[in-house]
Amino acid sequence: MSVDVGTPILQAPPAEGSKDQHMVLNMGPQHPSTHGVLRLVLEIDGEIVVRLYPEVGYLHTGIEKTCESKFYQQVVPLTDRVDYLGPLANNLCYCLAVEKLLGLEIPERAVWIRVLLTELTRINSHLIWLGTHAMDIGALTVFLYTFREREEILRIFEAVSGQRMMTSYFRIGGLAMEPPLDLFDRIQRFIRTLPEKIDEYSNLLTGNPIFRNRLLGVGILTPEDAVALAVTGPTLRGSGVDFDLRRDMPYAGYEKFQFRVPISNRCDCWGRYEVRLEEMRESIKIIQQALDGMPGGPVKADAPKIILPDREKMKTQMEALIHHFKIVTEGFNVPAGEVFQTIESGHGTMGYYVVSDGTAKPYRVHMRYPGFASLQALETMCQGRMLADVVAVIGSIDIVLGEIDR
């Protein structure tokens, strides 16, 4: 079982042509601006970064392995904990993958509510990015502002699912339950004021000379490098590549919505900042369309052997009780096959590769998360730049270590 583990990182040979005065600097794993437990090993020449190795794995919890011993429906709460800043996007991607394996159609209303809440999740994710990114640069105020708005989103999530962060609200075959009556009014009130709030952040940052100097021209990632290094999402669009899964390979009913895909040709941290700020405004448009056109009807597909019955039915109907018992104790069998379902999460392309062998437990669940690929591009973006720019670049690629280590 033993393998050759290769050269330990701190004794890595110096880069070609380097002089021996290069210093190896360890950054993290608890540096506050690394957004979790990321460790970077930097080889520096004075203050110039020569090489950079991201060391990940400090949050590795073996979620993929755990999934193999759970029933399909029991995996949903596990997915919340992967990208913990965008829980509903995780739920959506996993549920879509299993629904594709099952060939299950879900009702229109559930589709629309899923889009509505996933876009709210995107805004949530971008708000945290903006607050922490600005804080890394030194603009502490923005953090307080964005967390004020984020609080309202978390309250909406709590009203919907009973949980602020670990929602598990999307289930295989629809939603966990009908959302509360005043939910749509509440979201409407929230998004009515949000554009002004985004202007407020923009006023604080866009014209701020310190913020501009720290981001403009820093962390250059050419479109060719971005595609070659498998970078996705806002980081890719900030490098001028016009690709968004929501528009180009629609899933979960996104083809019904009109929105623009913001791109920036700047290829630097500033480009990524512009793109994410615009994306929040576009998400508001999608939410508005979803609120305006919200169809009625059930929120669960008509598949009693897969979806838990309503509580009331379970206590009054024998058949519903049997289905409930069967699903909870034995799960449900999923036809053999494999699917790779991708969605555009707040950070980029999220993908679930689910392999079924025909039993009630997934044979293999592989999670493709955007942060893992974005980290590969970190060295390209930081090479030849000052040490302090590394912090700005890490902020601009918007990583969550939970999704990288899984």
Partner: protein, 168 residues
């Protein structure tokens, strides 16, 4: 969800005949039609299986056909079958808005395959992850070290014969 209801085309012969205008199928047929081991079009997703010793050439051919963006790679442990490990590569075309899945099988006795980092540098971390969690070696990889587990860890956690709660 509409694509989930699409029909299934199983087998190499059927896919090569009925999907001959698909860019990925065309590219692999032009590269080496005999080398394709198996093909399957299921649930709107195309999978092509190639021999593991030709994986780099196959991926190169796919890349030249316009599948420019490497998205994902992983492995599946099909214990106790032989060959044991299935490698899965997902490659996307930004222009065609299409994805293709390339599969290759690796035996347990010599779990090694050539690294595709020369074609897609973005596969770097993904191959390290498979090396770490499945113990499959990638020849020619620039920095093949464990990525998730500690360097001195014994065993490969995502193998099916590795207990969920670990060795005690």
């Amino acid at each position: 969800m509409a694509e989930a209801t699409q029909e299934t085309i199983a087998g190499k012969q059927a896919v090569l005949e009925r999907m001959s205008d698909h860019a990925a199928v065309k590219a692999l047929v032009a590269w080496n039609a005999d080398a394709i081991i198996d093909a399957l079009f299921d649930r709107g997703e195309l999978s092509l299986t190639v021999p593991s010793e030709n994986i780099v050439e196959a991926v190169q051919a796919i890349k030249e056909a316009g599948y420019n963006a490497f998205e994902d790679m992983t492995a599946v442990d099909w214990l106790p079958s032989d060959p044991r490990f299935q490698l899965t590569y997902h490659i996307l075309s930004h222009a065609m808005k299409q994805r293709v899945r390339i599969k290759a099988w690796v035996s347990e006795a010599d779990p090694a395959v050539e690294s595709i980092t020369s074609v897609f540098p973005g596969a770097n971390f993904y191959e390290r992850e498979v090396f770490d969690l499945f113990g499959i070696r990638f020849e020619g990889h620039p920095n093949l070290r464990r990525i998730m587990m500690p360097e001195e860890w014994v065993g490969h956690p995502l193998r099916k014969d590795y207990p969920v709660e670990g060795y005690r």
